[in-house]
Amino acid sequence: MNPAMNSALNSGLNSTAGMAPVATPYFFYGLAALAVVSGFLVITRRNVVHSALALIVTLLSVAGLYLMLYAPFVAGVQIIVYAGGIMVLFLFVIMLVNIERSVKERRFNSMWPVGLSAAGALFTLFVFAFAKGRALFPDRMMSLPESSNTQQIATMLYGDAGKIGPYTFAFEIASLLLLVAILGAVIMTKKKI
Amino acid sequence: MAEDAKTPAPPPPPEGEKKPSAEMPAAPVSNAPVKPVAPAPPAKPAVPADSTTPPKPAAPAKPTGPVPLLWSSPLVEKYRSQYGTALEGQTYLGQNYLTVKSELIPNILRLLRDEEQFDYCVDITAVHYPKREKQFDVVWILYSFPRNERLRVTTQIADGASIPSSVSIWPTANWLEREVYDMFGIQFDGHPDLKRILLPDGWKGFPLRKDYGILQQDKEWVQINLGIESGQ
């Protein structure tokens, strides 16, 4: 937090920073329910655009969950990259490919019972793991410094004071990955190369 | 009334011919022998079938206007030597036209474009003479940019007969021929897309024929497509 703001906190306004809205459980339950319900809509809606809109809602509520987890930068990235970028790309492609026909067709493939039971088994596994391994996850959550979140992530990605950070190399690789993906997408979608 | 116009024997000297404009540098009108030409198509139009024509006014009292004259020019000579009487050149009020037999049509037009540089087809239209055996005059109005000269080519065809399209000669003929088809029902062979252009596709009848009344309409089409009793 900026020093100016720090000093300002004690100037008259009765500070309630301790119970900031991000900490209330209602928000968590609301966002979680929104995420799961719209996630359900993503995979069940017949119309692909509806699925995409539901996915946007999921992504935004997950961004809200990030905010609750004191990860504002990740939340911002989530909104700007996922909701603003990837989903627009999805919608763009959905409009390019014929949608009216797919609305009339079957939604699920012929193997859907198998898929569903496999996923069910996976979910059981999760439930089992959580139930058994409850002790692994401490109840108390550490509080992270929210205001310097971005700086700290930057330090990890780029390094600080002349030293490279632990993820600098991975970061470069990731940019390479993006470059390859861009090239691949351009080449694949081009009519004639 | 057409007979009236034709019968008076001495035509007045064509004084005003050069006046209207400097239209025809290549047309030596003064050289042309001054004599009326009997079989010129416009000289014998039939009386229009349309009953709304007002009664004939006192035509014989008036002096008649200029008459079509034979047009002698290198162009006419050249093609007359080639095609003989199937082709005739005339001039009227300083405007030249060729009357050709319909069999000659695609060839003569092509030759006019290629040899005589009539590179610009101004207009294609038709005139309906219902009393005549060959009911339609089809008229090409041509212009030559290098010669700055106009020429009309006229041919007569019967109702129901078709005529070769000139789209391959002048692409502009496309819509013009479509309009002629639309208005007169004249078929153009070899036209790439001969369908109605100004009237709706399903319309019945060809409005510019003389037997099509001015208030006439395709009632059935109007009722089906516009949902009204009458378009009037």
Binding site: F28, G39, A71, Y82, W112, F130 | -
Partner: protein, 102 residues
């Protein structure tokens, strides 16, 4: 009210993950399958961020950023393939995409 702990986030993430898996395994439309993969990646991200909060360091968040990058690359490449495929076969259904050629 029970305070929200890591396990809560993990349950949400697990639910999203399973929904994603169901989508991938049962839907026919490639676009929906790609979106289900995004759902799975988001579930993973949520887990990572929750763990990051749990341990009080930022490695999880950095990881989630990498996964976001990966998701973007995957979406671009996947949709590129989809368009290239649609152009040839005029279908976006996986069970019609069963030849190793087009």
């Amino acid at each position: 009210m029970v305070p929200i702990t890591t396990i809560h986030y993990l349950v949400v993430a697990a639910a999203l993950f399973v929904l994603g898996v169901i989508g991938v395994l049962t839907r026919r439309n490639v676009v929906v399958i790609l979106m289900s993969i995004e759902l799975i990646l988001n579930a993973v991200n949520l887990n990572l961020v929750a763990f990051s909060r749990m341990w009080g360091n930022l490695h999880g968040q950095v990881f989630s950023i990498f996964i976001t990058v990966d998701a973007a690359a995957e979406a671009a490449a996947g949709l590129g393939i989809l368009i290239a495929f649609f152009r040839n076969k005029e279908t976006v259904n996986v069970d019609e995409i069963d030849l190793l050629k087009w």
